[in-house]
């Protein structure tokens, strides 16, 4: 019994987007390189692009409290796609966008989704964007996700980006570029766990161009096994502004984490902070939880779970 697509796709859909049935309102569900279900609402238009793969999401000015779901599932080993999604968020609107990409790869072929997302937020618009990446499957084909997110915030706009990658993605190179006009604000929360031989690169490039603009980029990650993580965060303060980036990583086994802070003040009233902390789980944390009856493995798992919550 399937509720949306089929059993395999439905399971992955639920993991990446929380959907148990076809959503109400505006949505676009993309499976194996094609849009399979799509719907617009009164205030939110979803339009397929004619010249390339992807959609335009157009939110009418003043739209409040609506949710847009745009999940992607790949369950045919060997599918590779490049998709362009453009979001036009009207003045004064406030919406939640739930994206996410899940790969179920039982084959031996490289399976890859590269999404290029561009957000254009009009004055005083507000968006929360949630994106979850996930991979599974019994095959030895690699699961690869390389998203690029471009954010353009006009005066007074606000965007919160929450990205999560917890499991099964062999390689990811995530790039986020943002330009902020006056009084606009960007908050980024990244949560990342890599294991085995997985590799994850995160790049943030934020230009605080407008007066009183602000950005807060926070990354929490765990590198297990032989996995490698690279975190590059560039914040340029080009006006009176506030920028903060924070990379907090737990390293385990033979993991590798590199964090490169890069803050540049081009204005005397730019206030910029970067924090980076990398370290293994503190011995005293393990001892504390063991003294409450947890085994070392359970203690580690609980600490990692909490850290990435």
């Amino acid at each position: 019994m399937s509720n949306i697509i089929d059993q395999v796709a439905d399971k992955v859909l639920e993991i990446v987007s929380g959907l148990k049935e076809t959503p109400k309102g505006a949505f676009n569900i993309r499976v194996n390189g094609k849009g399979v279900k799509k719907s617009s609402s009164k205030n939110i238009q979803i339009v397929s692009k004619k010249d390339k793969e992807g959609i335009d999401i157009i939110v009418a000015p003043g739209t409040k409290g609506e949710t847009v779901h745009i999940p992607v599932v790949l369950d045919h080993s060997g599918t590779q796609e490049l998709v362009y999604n453009d979001f036009y968020i009207g003045e004064g609107s406030d919406v939640l966008i739930v994206a996410g990409c899940g790969i179920h790869n039982d084959g031996s072929h490289l399976t890859q989704h590269d999404g290029i997302h561009s957000f254009y937020l009009d004055e005083n618009a507000s968006v929360k964007y949630v994106e979850k990446h996930y991979g599974e499957g019994t095959g030895d084909g690699k699961n690869v996700l390389n998203p690029i997110t471009n954010v353009h915030l006009k005066k007074g706009a606000f965007m919160e980006l929450e990205t999560v990658q917890i499991e099964g993605v062999d390689s990811t190179d995530r790039e986020t570029n943002a330009t902020l006009a006056e009084d606009s604000k960007l908050v980024v929360k990244e949560k990342l766990l890599t294991n085995g031989k997985q590799e994850a690169i995160t790049r943030f490039n934020v230009d605080l161009d407008g007066e009183n603009s602000s950005a807060n980029v926070m990354s929490r990650s765990v590198a297990k096994g032989d996995s490698k993580q690279y975190f590059y965060s560039v914040i340029n303060g080009n006006n009176k502004c506030a920028g903060h980036s924070e990379c907090d990583a737990i390293i385990m086994d033979n993991g590798f984490v590199k964090a490169v802070p890069d803050v540049t003040a081009n204005h005397v009233d730019a206030s910029l902070i970067h924090e980076a902390a990398i370290g293994k789980i503190a011995g005293e944390q393990l001892i504390k939880l063991e003294s409450l009856g947890l085994s070392e493995e359970e203690a580690e798992a609980r600490i990692v779970e909490g850290f990435l919550r």
């Binding site: 005293e284 944390q285 001892i287 504390k288 003294s291 409450l292 009856g293 609980r302 909490g306 850290f307």
Partner: protein
């Protein structure tokens, strides 16, 4: 309940370029339902004993028996499962774990918010403000300390060990702390072992042990030990005063 038999502990000391004795043939018994306070000068080995009971450090020589079972080589987890609980002198912070999480781990089961609130209220914290607080740098030392004690209340161990619970707690909380231990006594059927310098905690003990220079100097009932301790501290003060006059 708990027996420390001929416990020795030595660590390598760089200055001495040799082993330094921290505990020297310590023998100590905590009886069932006993409320024991171990006191003595700083650096005497009190905290070492507490950590050794929990299994955080291993003795160089000697045996630890818990309810007759030799637990010397058991891990921290195994000892916790047998019923030993430990409140750290300096509580640990956890990014991402909430007070509620720690209380649930301590209880070893799911807890309702109401149950968690009972433990937090006992240590003087307004429960609804704390259940969902992250146990990170946003909590003060005193708050962490109280949460540490609440965890041990939720744990309901048959032997609860507190390493200097008063350290880092402000005066107001301290008054409550004594009540907390009095309540803990009433509510738990187990033994309580507290490492402390505080007279008011000594006053509610059944048994007091004095340790200095890694050796147990004396163990006895509160009524027997308190006057001696008072005498010692008077002597100390007098000596200090005399010393000042001589100068």
């Amino acid at each position: 309940m708990l027996e420390l038999k001929d416990i020795c502990y030595e660590v390598y000391d760089e200055v001495l370029d040799g082993d330094k004795e921290i505990l020297n043939h310590v023998n100590l018994t905590v009886k069932d339902n006993d409320f024991m306070v171990i006191t003595g000068p700083n650096g005497g080995g009190k905290s070492t004993i507490a950590k050794m009971i929990m299994g955080i450090i291993q003795p160089t020589k000697g045996k630890i028996l818990f309810n007759g079972e030799d637990i010397t080589n058991l891990s921290i987890t195994e000892r916790a499962k047998l019923g030993i609980g430990f409140a750290f002198q300096q509580p640990v912070r956890f990014k991402g774990l909430f007070v509620f999480d720690l209380l649930k781990f301590a209880a070893g089961r799911e807890l309702s918010v109401d149950e968690a609130c009972v433990y937090l209220s006992e240590v003087g914290l307004c429960a609804k403000d704390y259940v969902d607080r992250e146990v990170n740098g946003s909590l003060s030392g005193g708050e962490l300390k109280r949460i540490e004690i609440a965890m041990l209340m939720a744990r309901k161990s048959s032997l609860s060990v507190f390493d200097e619970p008063e350290a880092g707690i402000d005066l107001w909380s301290f008054k409550n702390l004594v009540e907390v231990f009095q309540n803990l006594r009433k509510e738990t059927s187990g033994s309580i072992l507290i490492i402390s310098h505080q007279e008011r905690i000594l006053e509610i003990a059944d048994t007091i042990a004095i340790i200095s220079n890694g050796e147990i100097r004396e163990v006895g009932s509160r009524d027997e030990m308190l006057p001696k301790l008072m005498e010692d501290s008077m002597e100390c003060t007098c000596l200090k005063r005399r010393g000042e006059k001589h100068e």
